[in-house]
Symmetry: C2
């Protein structure tokens, strides 16, 4: 049995991946990429079979952010020519939900820029969420920034299922990316969300000049955080941001990162997120042997490929979309 | 060691694939596709590393064919609205060669429809070939139909390197596809080419309602024929031909077929040919773990993807194009 299948079996039996094993995943020779992805698939298949979860982003508030995150086109220091607008109205949030539902997308992610939401912004989201739940029954994820406990409770009570706040990078590397808030600020928000009963969603951005050990650390931190859903972004460097021009990723390395996240977080929803198309390129399909989830449509300020291309990829692989009904069933099984 | 690596090692040690093993390749569970392709890659890598040979088709004469091949839009019974024209002039053949050379394509395939070439048509090809060889040094493959020994000799003496004449399908299935000439006619032409010193190129078209045993038989017949170059076409059913609407292939099965051809013909140039884009679709890159050659640009009467897409795929895989210089070196090593 090859080393990846052997490690996969041990992970399925409950073993944790050592840093050394994790490093060997990231250093997997390109010639063995198919074996590595087959090992990751062995784990992915155990928990999710060949199902793929579809998520859609509603960029509910754009720009106007006081933070200085180096990757983000919406930050206070970004000169990227993006659209800036306050929280969209309820109708727009509902339209987005309808579109997700019509496209058989199970999870609707309401994302708002900013350090953290004002109570008024929480009101707006809460108001729309109740109607979305009644009308479409979608799984709703809110991503509004640093959160206060009472705000988390209000979101939970309104029917929000999941709360996203990425750790983005390792604790070591965090201050190289952002100084306007701390790594612990981010961890706290995820903990606050968890304590309110919201399902924690927290992920990473790979390709921000971090070390391989940083990548391992972030994957393990997300495991320690027990994030249910882990979005793995690959830096899509945007002109006008501090990380402009950074381009250190290639498709094969991105596959190894996805495999690493699967080995370290065997049972979790691992989502190939921002930068999928521009970094995995023609090898996108291989990513789904490790990941079991994607965003359909556009990201916050960068475009995603046509939704039809995503479905072609899934059918070519012989994979199936997790339907809204199946998602609802798994949601109620958890609550 | 998994069964495919074990089989690959035995093949590399000189073993021949049994029909039972061949059938198990075509029946490989989709869940094990990465293991199968890794096994095929183990063989491909042994003979070709990560190099990919690029070929380009010049459709030198189109339509006007008296034969009744069911797959072909140029046949006497085809109602497909294709362009028909006699053998193009020397300038056009030279222009095509220049384009191939400029695109770093090593092999230039001069293809002419028809049962077999007239001596005048052979003259035209011979005339252009001498100049192409002197000017660009490309590897030249001629594909002119059923060939007479003296014609083969003239092509060889003029500098043609390779002669293509596909067997297309198994002996059993041949008459279901074509009745205007026989399977043996095709075998004879390849033998005639070989006897004249031309490198034999002969391949198949998969997806013409053949059985899996037929696919195995054709792969083994090409081995028996000792074809140096094996184009594997996947039926691109064309409206107006007898095989119109036939659509029995899917990307994963096409990968298994490519793996089968590699296991059965370990050392040969296996080219993903016609129908690559429409049948392998988003899994095209995986095909190159078994095959080591592709056509760049259009096929005879169907379009290929943009040449830039082919190069993106190769670079995403970490594979490299065999340069014209490398091709020349391998050519002279053979002669």
């Amino acid at each position: 049995m090859n080393q990846w299948m052997e490690l996969a079996d041990r992970v399925l039996a409950g073993a944790e991946v050592t840093d050394e094993e994790a490093l060997s995943i990231l250093h997997c020779p390109d010639e063995d990429i198919l074996l590595l992805m087959h090992g990751a698939f062995h784990i992915r298949k155990h928990f999710y079979g060949k199902k793929v979860k579809l998520n859609m982003i509603m960029n509910a508030k754009s720009g106007l952010c006081p933070e200085n995150c180096g990757y983000c086109s919406q930050s206070a220091i970004s000169k990227a020519p993006i659209e800036s607008y306050r929280m969209v109205n309820k109708e727009t949030l509902l339209e987005g939900a309808k579109r997700a539902h019509d496209l058989n997308i199970g999870t609707y992610c309401i994302v708002a820029s900013g350090r953290g939401p004002s109570n008024r912004e929480v009101d707006q989201v809460v108001d729309a969420v109740q109607e979305i739940k009644e009308t479409y029954g979608l799984k709703i994820c809110a991503c509004l920034g640093l959160l206060k406990p009472e705000q988390a409770k209000r979101l939970k009570d309104a029917g929000v299922d999941r709360y996203n706040h990425n750790l983005n990078t390792s604790q070591r590397n965090h201050s190289n990316i952002t100084t306007s808030h701390t790594y612990d600020d981010r961890v706290n928000t995820v903990e606050i969300a968890k304590e309110s009963g919201l399902s924690p969603c927290s992920g990473a951005i790979i390709g921000m000049k971090e070390t391989k050990q940083d990548v391992i650390d972030i994957a393990k931190s997300l495991k320690a955080l027990d994030a249910d859903s882990i979005p793995v972004n690959f830096l899509h460097a945007i002109d006008g941001t501090p990380l402009e021009g950074v381009n250190e990723l290639n498709p094969l390395y991105c596959l190894k990162v996805l495999a690493l996240f699967r080995f370290i977080n065997p049972s979790k929803e691992i989502r190939i997120s921002g930068g999928r198309e521009v970094n995995l390129r023609t090898l996108q399909p291989l990513g789904l042997y490790a990941a079991n989830s994607i965003f359909v449509g556009d990201y916050l300020t960068t475009a995603g490929q046509e939704e039809t291309e995503d479905h072609k990829m899934l059918s070519d692989l012989g994979f199936e979309v997790e339907s809204v009904e199946e998602m609802k069933a798994s949601l109620s099984a958890k609550s």
